[in-house]
Symmetry: C2
Amino acid sequence: MVTRYAVITDAAIALVAEQGMRGLTHRAVDARAGLPTGTTSAYYRTRKALIEALVQRLADLDAADLAAGSLPSDDVPAYPPKLTAADLDGIAAATGALLDRWLTDGRDRALARYACVLEATHHPELRDILGHGTASRVQARAMLAAAGAADPDRAGDHFVACVDGLLFDRLAGAGALTAPPPGTPECRADLTTAVRALLHALTTPPLRNQRPRERRAARG
Amino acid sequence: MVTRYAVITDAAIALVAEQGMRGLTHRAVDARAGLPTGTTSAYYRTRKALIEALVQRLADLDAADLAAGSLPSDDVPAYPPKLTAADLDGIAAATGALLDRWLTDGRDRALARYACVLEATHHPELRDILGHGTASRVQARAMLAAAGAADPDRAGDHFVACVDGLLFDRLAGAGALTAPPPGTPECRADLTTAVRALLHALTTPPLRNQRPRERRAARG
DNA sequence: ACTCCTCTTCTACAGCTGTAGAACAGGCAT
DNA sequence: ATGCCTGTTCTACAGCTGTAGAAGAGGAGT
């Protein structure tokens, strides 16, 4: 049995994805979920409570996916101590496929998430609930450390920011028009290309402009 | 003299940055701009018209900045036919500094823009007005072509998506907490590092996994 | 049976929002 | 001055939103 909380918050996510935060009202959620008017208002008296529940639901869904390995923030496996270039290519392909799923099956959740992140700008308490990609961030840092990045923490943050940017661009930006349509092999290939470039860049510092000493260190 | 249209739309941008799209109401704009109640409603009868004016104003401001070279989408100069690695580093530094300005002086505009891009998901007509980063996209493609990228069009799109992602992460995401604070040299340096990695990645295809023939071609 | 408790549904209401139109003011041309 | 026109300010009002509380329904325990 699906709890009523889940029904309500899932409807809220769909609503936000379709109409933005402005469409999120108690009555609209009732209608969208097919529940009698007043239900959402009874469960979440204030609008703030409703939004927090929505954000919590997003976090819970991510956690569930992470556990199930189906549509997590990053379902790359635990890393061997040293990642080879071939490993990185594999990770890039997995990430590309993952992004493509966020663009198709996970589209509503992805859109709702971006709306909530933006909302968190003026409502800091949301940020705590969102935990904002903590899991994927930690994982990215670990991966880049295993791949021998010079500054894995910073590089990990750059990586997730750029990957988020790729996703956002396809979801809402101009990429939605110019890039190959989501759900196609071309889309996955294009995303994989981008992620692979990112990974190689973040693990291999540009040699040409390093002074000899640094260059030797980077190679070692 | 500043036209009333500008006063209204600028107030609207500030409002959206502070409170999100939900805060954008005719009366709130009046109050924010210090105009008598009803003014905004007289200038833009419907809310849709108001939003479109807001988006148009964003586009106009960008165009003005582009012309003045002060805070444009990308104020990198016209490129010489062949870009060297040192040129790329210069572009990275300029882009890092530019992003830092978007985080400080241009913060409201950047936040309002992201809100509008998200809004454009359900209101396609906004996308046309936004032109959504067309200028910077074109410029990125030209730059990557000059730098000898294999597929400059796709690489250009990846580049702007990632740079937008870096910006969004600092503005609204977790980067706002973990990264060095905007306006500092550290922030600029960190962003420059990320952009430099991006540029080198997108212009230099990863050699290790290419077959010898491609490798030779890429080098030439 | 009755009571109590939780969950659910319905209704009320004050305040806000979108939109329209009336009233007003100043300047220009006749 | 008179009339007209553009730009401004004020007011009206229907509909929606957030929030609260009353009314109802069913089940568990006595």
